[in-house]
């Protein structure tokens, strides 16, 4: 057995050191430095996969992780508040939405981290702007490329990327995947790939029409490269997709279909490291209860099926699912039995190597930020933790400064 100290050992130790009041400060700082060094030194499993699941429209965090012991919650939401008796309690103060049984079992297995009160300085209540901020991870200015796109560019410095290293399961390319150098293919559905590539003859023709000669124009070369990237990605996936079919039961709703395809990709495309998936319908300004209930159930069931599938594949320890929405919703319900755009909200990180539990700070329902849950954890802390400790990247390069890590791994 190797006596080399592993990153995980160190993390555990540093966590203990940090918690132990008796630990001398110098020891804590050395341990911390070592953690950072190890993280930067690529001691991270190169097979790790990040799945990003975006809840578009602003998910109502308070009706997802319900503060059932908080009277301010009930006072603000006479119609929409979920009763103590119906929530799925996870501790003495919080319970999950009644439909989230699947997520609760993941939480009980310590595979799900709930990070409370996540947001960013000067929260923007516009979907458009806030989503842009989350996807580019730059609340202060305009940023052309996405946080994952920049990470992929950074990784491309150490060699050329595989055509399917990152994949968007979406019609349009999310800002998060926009990169300067890395070309990230996006597909509305995996079924499209088979339909598109077609028979070998057709694929060969699509390739050959790109030409072999050097083009005089830079733009023409860009077109040619983009076409070849797409063809490479599709060729690689087209062969692979037949080798495995997801076995678990997924619904026909957007989450079921999304996670089924993610499972399909992970089961068949060993080189894929980042998968991005977005689901909509969270902008619940009116008659929220039914809609939100359905979304929570679809999300939770699909995620559970997905993690079960990963376990069956022996990949649960290789997968980390990051779940976010562009903002939470207003604490006080509105007059249409709905909620308006808010600020701070919970984020989830789920995976076999995730240290499940509650992180961040309890939502403060008294000292509100313009009626909303104030943010206490910058989302870039979560991103940084994942970039540095899960993906072997360099958060400081991506985000322009260091953010304090969370101990979720």
């Amino acid at each position: 057995m190797s006596d080399r100290i592993t990153r995980r050992d160190l993390l555990r130790k540093s966590a203990i050191i940090a918690i132990g009041a008796a630990a001398p400060p110098w020891l804590a700082s050395i341990a911390k430095a070592d953690v950072i060094k190890l993280a930067a030194g690529r001691q991270i499993d190169p097979d790790n996969i990040l799945v990003v699941c975006q809840l578009s429209g602003g998910n109502d965090g308070l009706n997802t992780v319900v503060p059932y012991a908080n009277s301010a919650y009930y006072a603000s939401r006479p119609v929409l508040a979920l009763k103590e008796a119906e929530v799925l309690k996870i501790d003495a103060e919080y319970g999950l939405h009644p439909t989230m049984g699947g997520f609760k079992s993941l939480y009980e297995e310590k595979q799900a981290a709930i990070i409370q009160s996540v947001g960013y300085p000067n929260p923007d209540r516009s979907h458009f702007k806030s989503m842009e901020i989350w996807q580019t991870a730059n609340p202060d200015g305009r940023e052309q490329y996405g946080w994952l796109g920049r990470h992929l560019d950074y990784q491309m410095k150490s060699g050329s990327a595989n055509p399917v290293v990152a994949i968007g399961l979406s019609r349009t390319k999310p800002d998060a995947l926009k990169a300067k150098v890395a070309s990230v293919p996006c597909f509305a559905s995996l079924a499209d790939i088979k339909a598109f590539v077609g028979d070998p003859d057709s694929e060969r023709m699509l390739r050959e029409v790109q030409g072999m000669d050097a083009y005089s124009s830079v733009d023409a070369e860009t077109v040619r490269k983009a076409n070849l990237t797409a063809l490479d990605a599709m060729a690689e996936l087209n062969k692979a997709l037949d080798t495995y079919t997801p076995k678990m039961n997924y619904g026909t709703n957007q989450f079921g279909q999304g996670f089924k395809q993610i499972a399909h990709l992970i089961g068949t495309s060993p080189k894929t490291r980042v998968i991005y998936f977005a689901a909509g319908g969270f902008d619940t300004h009116s008659q929220q209860a039914t809609q939100h209930s359905r979304l929570m159930q679809d999300f939770s069931d699909a995620l559970k099926s997905f993690m079960d599938e990963m376990k069956a594949l022996g990949k649960d320890g290789k997968v980390c699912v990051l779940v976010f929405s562009e903002f939470g919703r207003r604490v006080r319900e509105n007059a249409s039995a709905g909620t308006d755009h808010g600020a701070g909200a919970p984020m989830f990180v789920v995976g076999g190597k995730v240290q499940g539990g509650m992180y961040g700070e309890k939502p403060d329902l008294v000292n509100l930020d313009r009626g909303d849950v104030p943010w206490r954890v910058d989302f870039r802390q979560v991103y940084s933790t994942i970039v540095d400790q899960w993906m072997g990247g360099d958060s400081e390069t991506l985000f322009g400064k260091k953010f304090e890590h969370l101990r979720i791994f």
Binding site: D213, D219, V223
Partner: protein, 484 residues
């Protein structure tokens, strides 16, 4: 260049693609006649009778609702159909320049009137246009000018009117922004027609729609306007927004910025100094006449140079709409309307389905009409190109020619490319889609014609579909096909 090639170049740049029908028509007018008809489009019958309200759906109370996506669909049909292609090409330019997104301005009718503001001034006077768009409710809402009030100025519009709309970044100070914001205080909007809380009846609502009066209009609120003296870019006075527009249009920076951007849209990026000098002079001497600038562009040698012709990356609109126009999709869809259509008659479902393919394709290629990605609009040129967007472009061939659709667009292709040899069929296909491929790539398309079933299959609609589908797929994948 032959006259036909010159006319085709004009149609690609000052129009929405050189379809065979248009090419045949404009060629007879000659180059000057074509320039004149394209730019001076007021004298041309538009040939687009469809009201945006035909795309609306009734709510439970019988009131028509118009969503942004329905307005985008209506606009797409207009792009596919219009006999004034330059009018739409310019409207698209101004939509990018004075970008407003439905992500914030969610009301279809407000966006519709915003588009009409742009369209109405598209080849007019730039100062008039700037004044009009500054008072457009969509713009006011988009850049928060409705919250810009005396004592509490909101600088959002003030910044963009200088940075994006006129002079360009770096030509003013933060103090100028604050002063400009004061000038626009009290510029807001209000609902027209019915007052108070009561919802209109369906009859009242439709009556107002029929009059053409917007549901929301500019409103000046004197009590919220800061009437004090302002100091703006060295000028002093009790300026309001119209005064500011005058000051900004008169700046030398604007005289260079606006014509350069037009040149970029119609010719190529980063025009030479001498080109900008020439256009800036036209801008100033004509009193900001957009039409004069467009003529100057068309009459520049550089516009006709090798650097320009077929060297511009097609935008998703250039790509998608030109294909649709080559296939006559707009006319085919409009012919499905009931002959006695009222402005409130919902458009037939079979017309909306195929239209959605075009809207979706453009969206997936990165250009969702009415949803520009940011205040600065879209990025042009090679920014349109990525593996994902190229897949969408190539995939359009499969969407269009999948068969069994409400609208048969494979039929016209089959008819157009029926030939006695595969080489001839290939040439005809390229002609249909205005593609110029080098010989090596032509060979690949020809192979696709043969692999799909060959010329014998082209003789009947039933067997021609695989040929049309495969050959157009390979053609759409050719790098040259993405330049106009």
């Amino acid at each position: 260049m032959t006259n036909r090639e010159k006319v085709a170049h004009l149609l690609r740049r000052f129009g929405l693609g050189a379809s065979q029908a248009e090419l045949g028509f404009y060629e007879k007018l000659g180059v000057d006649g074509t320039i004149d008809r394209l730019i001076n489009y007021e004298k041309v019958e538009e040939g687009f009778p469809v009201s945006v309200w035909e795309f609306s759906v009734r709510n439970n109370n019988g009131i028509p609702l118009l969503q942004p996506k329905q307005v985008a669909m209506w606009w797409t049909l207009r792009l596919l159909t219009t006999q004034r292609p330059m009018q739409e090409k310019l409207t698209l330019f101004w939509h990018d320049h004075f970008a407003v997104s439905a992500s914030k301005v969610g009301q279809g009718p407000v966006l519709y009137h915003y588009l009409e503001t742009l369209r109405g001034h598209a080849n007019g006077n730039f100062l008039d246009m700037l004044k009009a768009i500054s008072k457009d409710p969509a713009m006011i809402l988009w850049l928060d000018n409705n919250t810009n009030v005396r004592g509490k100025p909101n600088e959002n519009f003030a910044r963009e009117v200088m940075e994006l709309f006129t002079m360009g970044i770096g030509n003013y100070t933060e103090a100028d922004i604050q002063e400009v914001a004061r000038a626009y205080t009290g510029w807001s909007f209000a609902r027209t027609g019915l007052r108070g809380q009561r919802q209109p009846t369906p009859e009242e609502f439709m009556e107002q729609v029929r009059t053409g009066r917007p549901l929301v209009e500019f409103q000046f609120r004197p009590a919220l306007h800061d009437n004090g003296a302002k100091k703006i870019l060295g000028n002093e006075g009790r300026f309001d927004g119209d005064d500011v527009a005058g000051i900004l249009c008169g700046r030398t920076e604007t005289a260079r910025y606006i014509p350069s951007k037009l040149w970029h849209w119609f010719a190529y990026p980063a025009p030479e100094e001498k080109v900008v000098d020439r256009l800036a002079k036209v801008y100033r001497e004509s009193g900001y006449d957009i039409k004069k600038i467009l003529y100057a562009i068309a009459e520049s040698d550089e516009f006709w140079s090798e650097k320009s012709v077929r060297k511009q990356v097609k935008s998703p609109a250039d790509f998608t709409i030109a294909i649709g126009r080559a296939l006559g999709v707009g006319q085919a869809l409009i012919s499905q309307r009931a002959p006695d259509t009222d402005i409130m008659t919902p458009l037939a479902r079979q017309a909306i389905g195929p239209l959605r393919s075009f809207v979706d394709s453009m969206t997936n290629q990165g250009m969702e009409l009415l949803y520009p990605p940011e205040v600065a609009g879209w990025d042009w040129g090679s920014s349109w190109i990525s593996s994902a967007t190229m897949v969408e472009r190539i995939k359009l061939s499969q969407t269009l020619f999948s068969g069994g659709r409400a609208l048969d667009v494979a039929g016209p292709v089959q008819a157009a490319i029926t030939a006695s040899t595969a080489t001839e069929a290939t040439e005809k296909l390229c002609e249909l889609f205005d593609a110029r491929l080098d010989s090596a790539r032509l060979t690949e398309v020809e192979k696709a014609v043969l692999a799909g079933g060959g010329v014998s299959a082209l003789s009947a609609p039933r067997t021609s579909l695989p040929v049309v589908r495969l050959a157009s797929k390979v053609l759409f994948a050719a790098p040259e096909f993405h330049f106009c």
